[in-house]
Symmetry: C2
Subunit: 216 residues, 2 copies
């Protein structure tokens, strides 16, 4: 289930992108009741066009998820040599970005739709995972391994280290937001959360002072 995405990009036109933006707005405002009529009304297009372009309702949802996922890509690897400060900055930047994404109404709406369908049809969930959690992992693991190579981190398995980093950053925020709870997440608290989580990550996986593996 560690599937990749985007074997064949379907060539979204500008007008089609407008329609998908309308779908996102509709998801954010009206939640789950995403009807084709509401989308057509909000996008000022005809339902016939929706079906011609996207096939059916599932096709529209899939296109929307892929469309949104294609816009999240951020922060390429960067080949600069790593010192402790640069690694910290990169990890904190990752944490800030991730917290910002998972607390955005767009991401919440899409995750809610994908989770709501995961009982029967898990294709949306696979897309969301591939472009969220797994894309993040494959982008962060080289950073972690570069930190290890530079003698700043110590771990046996980069995947395991990333999963712990993931837990330290997200904690209970994502599940609470998904369930409708609203923890305060203004940019300042996001920065504070990122700083705390990266500090804790270094306490667990840092190699400098006494560092080493964590679990006894």
């Amino acid at each position: 289930m560690t599937a990749l995405a985007a074997p064949a990009e379907p060539e979204i036109s500008a007008r089609q992108a407008e329609v998908l933006d309308a779908v996102l707005r509709q998801l954010m405002t009206d939640g789950n009741s995403l009807t084709m009529s509401a989308v057509a009304r909000r996008a000022s297009c005809s339902k016939e066009t929706l079906y011609k372009w996207f096939g059916d309702r599932d096709g529209l949802l899939n296109a929307t998820v892929k469309y949104q996922a294609a816009r999240v890509h951020v922060a390429a690897v960067g080949p600069d040599p790593l010192d402790r400060a640069a690694l910290t900055a990169r990890l904190e930047s990752f944490a800030i970005n991730w917290l910002t994404v998972i607390s955005s109404e767009t991401s919440l709406a899409l995750n809610r739709v994908a989770i709501g369908q995961a009982g029967s049809d898990r294709s949306l969930g696979a897309i969301v995972l591939a472009n969220g959690r797994f894309a993040l992992g494959s982008r962060m693991k080289p950073v972690l391994e570069a930190g290890r190579k530079a003698g700043l981190l110590a771990f046996a398995d980069a995947e395991e280290a990333f999963r712990t980093l993931f837990g330290l950053v997200a904690r209970d925020v994502q599940i609470r937001l998904l369930l409708g709870d609203a923890p305060a997440l203004d940019p300042e608290s996001i920065r504070a959360e990122a700083s705390r989580s990266i500090g804790q990550f270094f306490a667990l996986y840092g190699a400098q002072p006494g560092g080493g593996q964590a679990a006894p």
Copy 2:
């Protein structure tokens, strides 16, 4: 939104409990398409009875969520004096229990329903949170504070410490499961995960060797 639950228990009869079990089975097998007809068929009862007992579809869902939540209660506080081994055992027991719950099909189905409705109607989400995440926190915080009083843990805010513990235990497991991914979670790996997370928690908040706060 840290609401309590159960001000007035609605007195579930045995037959009604059978019906709610049928709802849970229906949710687990057929996912989101939970129709009143399917519930009535599976529970061998009439739709008229469903409406007489639970009002409407939302009432049935609410009753089901509360019914399931009322069965999860585990592991009372226990007034035994804490040493390091007892605290570790209690924390690992918590972690095992929590991982087992969030990876059960029942919990997944209920969380999916509550999340799917959280866009428009977040009453289900509030119930799930109150009986899941928040019940856990209020049950664990005394343990953490007892550990601090015994000189085994060091933290400023028990809520913050618990949230970090939560993140260390759950990591990416819950969101992956909710989205339909299937990480291996047999009882042995759950035990291993629990042991690892509690070890990391002690590395961050343990007070014995050099311990103290984690973040710089």
